[in-house]
Amino acid sequence: MQLRLENVGKWYGRRRVFDGVSLELAHGECLVVTGPNGSGKSTLITVLAGLQRPTTGVIRLCEKGAALPREAWRHVVGWVAPDLTLYPELSARENLDFFARVLGRPADAARRDRLLARVGLAGRENDLVRAYSTGMRVRLKYAFALLNEPRLLLLDEPTATLDADGMALVDEIIAEQRCRGLLVLATNDPREIRHGDWRLDLGSGSALQ
């Protein structure tokens, strides 16, 4: 799996968020996106997830040199971000079962429960998400992101609101993702920046380092 960005830019009306981003990320690589507040880190992540179209440029997710059609991205992209909210009126199990169904995956209760145990939610699987603490909700977001065994994992502020165990869990997930595919982190936290093989600083005119 490869991720290619060619001259990608995002504008809201006449306001430029970022522009001229070109890069290529290969299997096993991690890109860290940094920049001050409002520089477009989260916007770039949502554009990479396919949730927003870029105003300019092209994004390609390629498998063996062939670009995947846009409608297939949902099967290969995982996303964790402060903007992501799962259904508070459903339990963690019900949330994951629902998203597995809409992803067209076969029902697999054992795998779902393993995933919830993996993110530290064993014993609370049947609680409604509205009763979860902020940290528990973030853990559930990781279970959601890993549901489709993503080839491209997009993490926006990956450890925000997590405790020490949660941060260790994110480190493990990042290490695993390097074996499974690609990783993009949007962060300014030095502890998270160290994971990157490449760094894109949106605060300095989209310079790649």
Partner: protein, 265 residues
């Protein structure tokens, strides 16, 4: 990319992606996904009563208010030309109009929120990421249809009980109730999707709904009046129902085609 070397050792190669499903299997999987969206919305609604309460409170209050205040008997309404007492065409039309005013405004108070709720609760991005747009559209439409038809089937008997229309063609009334409310739910679904992402939702909804919903309402009010009045107009109403179904099928097809653009950007 840049000249900086990777910080880690070379990872093992990835497993190949599974082959894309055949078109027939894609269609079946799309139906399953739409059903999953419907089930999720139903479960969510049963727990929060978000739309249900709005619909029921509005419908029952309006029904009682109409029953207590609107005069539906007397000169020109229950006195036939020969001096006999019965239901005139004017009364049949008045009652049909009142019934659909109750059903329409109750439906609008809850149905338009199917997508707005996803945007306001910020659950829309997860749904947008994981589900194919058509599954979302048809799942939500199915939920809206189920909700409005169920509400109509509850309200119409109460309406008959309180306002005592002389129902001459019960089968036609049932058909008008089910098809009319299902049609309103279908057209409301796409309008709800459009306005969910707009800033001035309420005014946009009203402006868009008027030309699209009006033909549906005209047909069902005429049809319901015919069901109350009986006689030859009832035949004409059956033909109009066919027209109504055709109009809604056309609208849903067009909406499904446009929905991806609305949903994605």
């Amino acid at each position: 990319m840049s000249s900086t070397p990777p910080a880690t050792t070379q990872p093992p190669p990835a497993k190949p992606l599974p082959a894309p499903p055949a078109p027939s299997s894609r269609m079946l999987s799309g139906l399953g996904e739409a059903w999953a969206v419907f089930r999720k919305d139903l479960l969510s609604e049963l727990r929060t009563r978000y739309a249900l309460n709005a619909l029921l409170v509005f419908a029952l209050t309006t029904l009682l208010l109409v029953a207590m205040t609107v005069v539906t008997q007397g000169q020109g309404l229950t006195r036939l030309p020969g001096g006999e007492v019965g239901q005139t065409a004017a009364r049949a039309t008045l009652l049909a109009g009142l019934l659909w005013i109750i059903l329409f405004f109750s439906g609008m108070s809850g149905l338009a929120r199917a997508f707005v709720k996803e945007e306001e609760a910020r659950t829309a991005p997860a749904l947008r990421l994981a589900a194919q747009p058509l599954a979302v559209f048809f799942g939500k439409m199915l939920f809206n249809v189920a909700l409005l038809v169920a509400m109509a089937l509850l309200i119409v008997p109460l309406f008959v009980l309180f306002l005592k229309p002389d129902v001459k063609d019960g089968a036609l009334l049932l058909a008008e109730t089910v098809l009319g409310s299902a049609s309103l739910a279908c057209v409301t679904t796409i309008l709800g999707a459009i306005v969910a992402r707009a800033e001035s939702r309420a005014s946009l909804f009203a402006a868009l709904a008027f030309p699209i919903v009006l033909p549906v309402l005209v047909i069902v009010v005429n049809g319901t009046a015919a069901a109350f009045a009986g006689g030859p107009p009832s035949e004409e109403a059956r033909n109009q129902l066919v027209g109504l179904v055709s109009y809604v099928v056309m609208l849903v097809t067009l909406s499904a085609w446009l929905f991806e653009q609305v949903w994605r950007d």
